[in-house]
């Protein structure tokens, strides 16, 4: 083989490998979604949304974990979003060039990918241990700790994209800074900021690790945030590892519900940010 043929051959090998790698990557996604649909769809019925988690061997649904997950998610977003938006506002508006902003950005990016089980330990230490019992509040706060970095990051990014001229024009009219932010910056960055919140919801709705020892689990219906509360991911964890076939079935159904809720959220978020950037 002469040099030219060898170079071409090597090029072909690598390019084929790269196509192969992409097929493998996409294949995983198809395999996982396929398994979820195959295992979960057959059991999906109205009863799943209207009945409690059953004891082994009986029929039932996932009503209490769904309610628990919804309550904790809403609460976590309600706690985490304002903090995240305010912090992001400081970083993009007031303190764009401040040292504090640089430090917070660095730390926030680390918190963004920090292991979520450590968050669970942290909340256990500061809330569960002093209170003496597991509770839905602790679970919600743990999730809120995960929401904050996501919202901080997107808020800062989106506010930084707002053209400076808009702010200058508003300031020239005599608007105080807080009004400029509230009536100009936030409005211009709204779609992006909503995207951030949606991504945060997507992120926490599947989080299991921080809930294991904060909200624990509850076999019975409970909407009491001051007591252990059931949540979809923890129930999936428990049921999937159980030896009972009908519990495992419910775990698959729960997994299907969570996955498609999360994928719907992240696709919506992407669509939102795409319309924003294409304008």
């Amino acid at each position: 083989m002469n040099l030219y043929a060898r170079r071409r051959f090597r090029n072909h090998v690598i390019l084929t490998l790269s196509v192969g790698a992409t097929v493998v990557g996409l294949g995983w996604l198809v395999l996982i979604l396929g398994a979820l649909l195959y295992q979960g769809l057959s059991g999906l019925s109205l009863a799943v949304f209207t009945e409690m988690t059953p004891p082994p061997g009986a029929d039932g649904g996932l009503l209490n974990p769904i309610i628990g997950s919804l309550m904790m998610t809403i609460l976590a977003v309600a706690i985490g979003t304002p903090i995240g938006i305010l912090a992001g506002t400081y970083m993009a508006e007031y303190g764009k060039y401040a040292k504090l902003t640089m430090v917070v950005r660095f730390i926030n990016d680390i918190l963004l990918s920090a292991p979520s089980i450590v968050v669970g330990l942290f909340i256990y230490e500061i809330l569960v241990a002093p209170m003496g019992h597991f509770s839905g509040w602790a679970g919600a706060v743990a999730l809120a700790v995960i929401v904050v970095p996501v919202v901080v990051r997107t808020t800062e990014d989106m506010l930084s994209l707002v053209p400076r001229e808009l702010r200058e024009a508003a300031t020239a009219l005599g608007m105080p800074r807080a009004h400029v932010i509230g009536y100009v910056s936030y409005r211009a960055a709204r779609a992006g900021m909503i995207t951030g919140v949606l991504l945060a919801i997507a992120r926490i709705s599947g989080e299991t690790a921080p809930l294991l020892f904060t909200s624990l689990n509850n076999q019975f219906f409970s909407a009491d945030l001051n007591a252990p509360i059931s949540s979809l991911p923890v129930v999936i964890f428990q049921f999937a590892l159980s030896p009972y076939a009908d519990w495992q079935k419910l775990a698959w159904i729960g997994a299907l519900i969570i996955t498609f809720a999360v994928l719907a959220l992240s696709i919506t978020a992407r669509a939102l940010s795409a319309t924003r950037t294409s304008k």
């Binding site: 790698a21 995240g84 504090l100 590892l241 994928l263």
Partner: protein, 337 residues
């Protein structure tokens, strides 16, 4: 900030002539606006500081929680293999070993795969397909880790047990050194399975970052290389990769940080055995899996404290890895921006 406040700002801006009484009210309103502006400013600042407080809170609470175990075992904790809740002898060597090995396996698979996919996305893929494929790969990152766990346990592990693992055992059974790596019965679950699942999970992080840095390579450089007759692979190997090196490394470190701390998926498929074995087919445990499995069942202060110490070790490792990743990515951002 409210409607009334805005109305006043607009009124003030519109009113051409200001009379004496209006001037007084104008001063009053301006004073109030300045006050609210200052309050809002401090509020946002406090929220930014809260992010720092969160991090220090995590560190302080972990250190505080791990004090009893550190006092009881000292540095021996790191190299002691035994983990016995009954006699309250705890050592972190097995989970640390498992964490490092599974993450290493994951990176071994995910890095070449991710780089090849970004090569495909930036050089070969037709324009109209780039976005859909990119999004599809990123969706892998959106799937919650517990889903990987349940899929790994019920679908992937049995598959490996039936096909890949017996094959590996046969293939390397008589090769020296390698045979100990692939020793033992095919359990299905174990460190190899955990590593493979982790590889799928970190793949989107590595892919999307390396794609972004590949795209940031100035076209002029690539065109020059093509101009002197380089093949696509030679352009990538000698122009794109050297230029994007720091960014790719940052992406790899970010993926590594994720892999080290990943909990639920690993908990399902690792097998939870507190022992160190050379074979990657054997069950093991990782730091996060140990905490997830045992924390609620831990009786006694020392047991709980030992688990929190594991959390502290995990946090320290991931913090260092992620900090390096961020510093590298910041360097490349500065160059691009």
């Amino acid at each position: 900030m409210h409607e009334a406040g805005r109305q006043k700002v607009v009124d003030l801006a519109l009113s051409g002539s200001i009379e004496a009484s209006a001037a007084a009210s104008r001063t009053k309103i301006l004073g109030r606006l300045r006050l609210s502006d200052g309050a809002f400013r401090h509020l946002t600042r406090a929220a930014a500081v809260l992010v720092l407080v969160l991090l220090s809170g995590v560190i302080i609470s972990l250190i505080q929680g791990s004090l009893p175990a550190i006092q009881a075992f000292g540095l021996n904790f790191l190299i002691e293999e035994r983990w016995n809740p009954v006699t309250e002898r705890f050592g972190a060597f097995a989970p640390i070993y498992g964490t490092l090995i599974t993450s290493f396996l994951a990176m071994l698979i995910a890095v070449p795969l991710g780089l090849l996919i970004s090569l495909f996305l930036t050089e070969i893929c037709p324009m109209w397909l780039r976005r859909p494929i990119g999004i599809a790969i990123e969706l892998l990152a959106g799937i919650p880790s517990i889903i990987y766990g349940i899929w790994g346990l019920f679908v992937f592990a049995p598959f490996l047990q039936r096909t890949v693992q017996p094959f590996l055992i046969d293939l390397f059974g008589n090769v020296p050194v390698l045979s100990s790596l692939f020793e033992g019965p095919p359990y299905g679950i174990g460190m190899l399975t955990a590593g493979l699942i982790l590889a799928i999970m970190v793949l989107p992080f590595i892919t999307s970052i390396s794609r972004d840095v590949f795209e940031a390579v100035p076209p002029v450089l690539k065109e020059a290389a093509y101009g002197v007759g380089c093949t696509t692979w030679e352009v990538v190997r000698h122009v794109v990769l050297p230029y994007a090196r720091v960014g790719v490394l940052g992406g790899v470190m970010l993926g590594l940080g994720r892999a080290l701390g990943e909990t639920m998926a690993v908990t399902f498929v690792i097998g939870n055995a507190h022992k160190v074995s050379a074979s990657i087919l054997a069950p093991g445990t990782t730091i996060s899996a140990t905490i997830a499995n045992e924390f609620t069942e831990a009786v006694g202060d020392l047991y709980t404290s030992a688990l929190i110490t594991l959390g502290l070790i995990l946090f320290a490792i991931t913090f260092i890895v992620l900090a390096i990743a961020r510093l590298m990515l910041m360097r490349i951002e500065r160059r691009v921006g």
